[in-house]
Amino acid sequence: MAEPRVSGTLVEEVFRAESGRALATIARLVGDLGVAEDAVQEAFIAALRRWPETGVPDKPGAWITTTARNRALDVLRRENRRPDLEESAVREALEATPPILHPVADDQLRLMFTCCHPSLAAEARVALTLRLVGGLRVPEIARALLQGEEAVAKRLQRAKAKIRNAGIPLRVPPPELLAERVPSVLECVYLTFTEGYAATAGDELIRHELCDEAVRLARLLVTLLPDDPGAEALLALLLLQDSRRATRLDADGEVVLLADQDRGAWDHARIEEGLEWLDRAGAHDAMSAGAASYLLQAAIAAEHARAPSWTTTDWPAIVSHYDQLATLTRSPIVLVNRAVAISFADGPAVALPLLDELAGDDRLSGSHLLFLARADVRSRLGHPTEAAELYRAALDLASTEPERALLRRRLAELDVS
């Protein structure tokens, strides 16, 4: 017997790359996510059995999609679950599809709009997008979002039940609704990225699979929503942020701050691409507040990406971007970051009262970031005792181990005599 040429791992890779596309296409054809999911799953089981003997087909995506279509058709014929007109219409439509079925990219956009439907809870949208569009499995999603597998499985099940029971359509919304619906798709991709880039809990600060998936989805969005300023600005933002990913942690997994990162090791291809998308996004005459906020965040990331060194960073430009951002969003974190930028543009003494004033904002009471910023400014002004107290407060609130390690390092570096 011939040596198996295809390993399970390879099929896994194809699964990650192709299952979302195949699912999106089958779901459009059968109009039922559950049937489509089962069919794609079965197609991969068939691939696991078949490919070790036959080798990977030339177009694995088409093989999977075609096999899944045939499985779905079998199920519909066999079960005849809803012996009504609608069902036979679906069957006829499926039978009329070409013998070899290629996945269609537009179908993925359709599926994203369904997964990000505003009538689904925001947490469910992210999990559902990762599952159905990204092809991540439940344990992977649970690990990435730091939630229990059972909780994720339940949330997915509930969301899928709602899609079916409440009649959430599998479609790209009509043009008159796009302005309302695109933001929740962009937000879902943005949340996927931020959760990956700065995880909110756990031992790891960065979850690479989420960053990768978010960048992939953001690229897909600019293709599928051409000339959408929000999609372009989001892709620019993700690329520019992500260009620094490899340098954010040192070999021991400790946080390396922007000031200390090896700029030569940043991903310059990503930076270049990000800057191009930033230009394109910035060229639109008008855009929504949401799109503008991605654009401004991307512009801030671009200032860092362009600066040859920390000391040559154009802080006044960054402050001006934050000023505009602060008028668009009520996020108090933006105000903290603005004050930090001011501390570098105009000096820590100017920023100190701004940061202390923010301590009165209840929304920041659970965040370590404000304590960290207030401590840093005091440390730079030569008030180590006050700084130490604030670093300790930040340490109590920091939720990931690398962040706590950074704070302990800061405390140790303080010259408290």
């Binding site: 505003p118 409440a166 009649g167 359509p169």
Partner: protein, 240 residues
Amino acid sequence: MRHLVLLYGDETALPPPGSDEFMAQLPGYMAFGELAAGAIVGGDALHLQAGTRTVRLDGGSVSVTNGPFADTVEGLGGFYVLDVPTLDDAIELARHIPTAQRGAIEIRPLIEFFDRSADVVPAAEGETRFLATIHGQAELDGPGDPEWEAMGAAHGQFTDAAGDAVHAGGAVQPSSNATTIRVRDGELSVTDGPCAGVPTLTGGFYVLRGTEDGVADVAAKIPVGDGGIVVLSPILELGG
């Protein structure tokens, strides 16, 4: 697909019938009626909490109390049943209901809905129509779930036995399938789940007809299961 659309408004939002404020609000609802004419398959306005009664079954004995069973700022001011292809269509219509601007609209997919009001003897002198909503019962999965099937059969028997007292009724999907919308300053907000701060509808609803006491007797026979409560809200007859 049919959806039950529940209109939750501030107590003060719907002024007494016949008052100037009341008349001023009617055109908005009439405009919605025209907009959604092709989709509306049922619906009525309710007298806000005034006249509402709560029917409980406690160990076999029926208790009827005046007033709603929970104190809430927002009350159920009316409902529609919309027959539309998708949830998006339901949302697109429901956002134009005037209540969406001040209160909240809950959209509940229906498993079943029937309206036999055209076939039954119309209300006689001294009789009123009431909306009977079921609350507080354990939510069942829906068709296919043996418990749900058993409950459905019990409702079928109730409907048959109640005869002309039952004008319409429907079974809703569990509240995890609900969507709540609000419109503020022209902006639509859509949230997952039933309207917060009001008793959640579980199981379904009926439109009943009879004298006040007669309707309470009928409502007491609605199969609601353990812990279930029926709230009776008098329907505001706008048709004349």
